[in-house]
């Protein structure tokens, strides 16, 4: 062991990964069902559930905004972390480059999401 030990900054990414994983496991399947099956096929839910007006109102509501932000940003951080580690597993140790592409991508998409959600107004 090399001393002194350097503290790993992994907990930041691991926490985002964990939060995204938890959220995607709990809400991912039902979101796929609602947006991909129930609404388009007219099952269970009213036909206008995902109409433009409804969705805009949802995105303008503060709780709706928070929900959309958490779903998009945390899912992305989860995916970025998973892809980064899978690259390592299959032998691509690009280090800083892979890190920038994976986590940088998630960071940029997070900022764009935040900007768009604010731009759509309250």
């Amino acid at each position: 062991m090399k001393r002194p030990l350097k503290r790993s900054n992994a907990p930041i990414f691991w926490a985002l990964f964990g939060a995204g994983g938890m959220l995607s496991a709990l809400l991912g399947p039902i979101l796929v069902f609602i947006t991909g099956l129930a609404v388009p096929l007219g099952m269970l839910l009213p036909a206008d559930t995902m109409s433009y007006a409804n969705m805009q109102a949802f995105a303008q509501n503060i709780i709706g905004k928070g929900f959309i932000f958490a779903i998009i940003a945390l899912f992305l951080w989860h995916a970025a972390h998973r892809i980064f580690h899978s690259l390592h597993d299959i032998g691509i140790h690009a280090g800083i480059v892979a890190k920038l592409i994976c986590y940088g991508g998630a960071m940029v998409a997070t900022l764009i999401t935040a900007y768009e959600l604010l731009a759509i107004g309250f």
């Binding site: 062991m1 090399k2 002194p4 030990l5 503290r7 790993s8 992994a10 907990p11 390592h88």
Partner: protein, 251 residues
């Protein structure tokens, strides 16, 4: 030779670093009976076919942890793996994966010993204790918190199983981390803060990608993957909490 004695082919990885450019395979025809382990198979080779074959062994009963080998590519204790389960196919025996080979099936375990030392695998008392104070008392629940993690026999099968240790040998790894956890959760111990430094470091728990093969191959049913992943939570808490606590969690 008794009637029920059969012949099995054992393919052994040979390597003598002073003489050989690279490791190579050698096949031996070994007579065996139903009760013979793979270890007894390689012992037969050493006694009757090729005395130069080198391997470690001691207790023959899955207690000492010396005879770990890759058997058909799986990290196993050769003393509790039986030739009859492979017959009539050939069985392939190699040195434990992810370690440098010293000779034939003997690996260099220096790196592992260093890791064991680095986790301070002993009780560091919370405060000095005199003989007059008597023995430490523990409840069954306090014992239960660490008991399974104390069954490690240092056989290193989990290191041969761990793909992340294979990619980065600096990683503290499953067995050492399980033992670290064993002391950290012992009610008699006060050394957690010192050990957390290692857990939190770049050589620490976050090298693990939760594959879980370490726990699968453990011959003593220790669950190192559990210890490592509990400590990811501990480490993440330590990482963020140090900004909130006045003294800070760790350096």
């Amino acid at each position: 030779m008794s009637e029920n004695q059969r012949i099995i082919e054992i393919e052994v990885l040979r390597y003598h670093p002073e003489k050989d450019k690279a490791p190579y395979q050698q096949v031996f025809q070994v007579p065996f009976t139903d009760d013979m382990s793979v270890l007894q198979g390689v012992q037969y080779i050493k006694d009757y076919l090729d005395g130069s074959l080198s391997f470690r062994w001691s207790c023959r009963m899955a207690i000492c942890g010396s005879c770990g080998m890759m058997i058909n590519g799986e990290p196993s204790l050769s003393c509790e793996t039986f030739l009859r389960d492979y017959y009539p196919a050939r069985v392939r025996v190699e040195a434990l994966a992810h370690f440098p080979i010293e000779r034939d099936l003997v690996i260099n375990m220096e790196g592992f010993i260093e890791k064991l030392e680095s986790i301070q695998p002993y009780i560091i008392p919370k405060e000095p204790r005199t003989l007059a104070q008597g023995e430490y008392l523990q409840t069954p629940a306090q014992l239960g918190a660490y008991e399974q993690f104390s069954s490690c026999i240092n056989c290193m099968l989990c290191y041969a199983a761990c793909p992340q240790f294979g990619l980065n040998s600096e990683f503290v790894g499953p067995a050492a981390m399980a033992l670290l956890h064993r002391y950290n959760v012992d009610s008699r111990d006060g050394g957690k803060a010192e050990r957390m430094e290692l857990v939190n470091s770049e050589e620490g728990v976050f090298n693990c990608t939760a594959v879980g093969y370490c726990s699968e191959v453990c011959p003593k049913h220790v669950d190192p993957a559990n210890a490592v992943n509990q400590n990811k939570t501990n480490s993440a808490a330590d990482y963020f909490m140090r900004f909130l606590t006045p003294k800070g969690g760790a350096k």
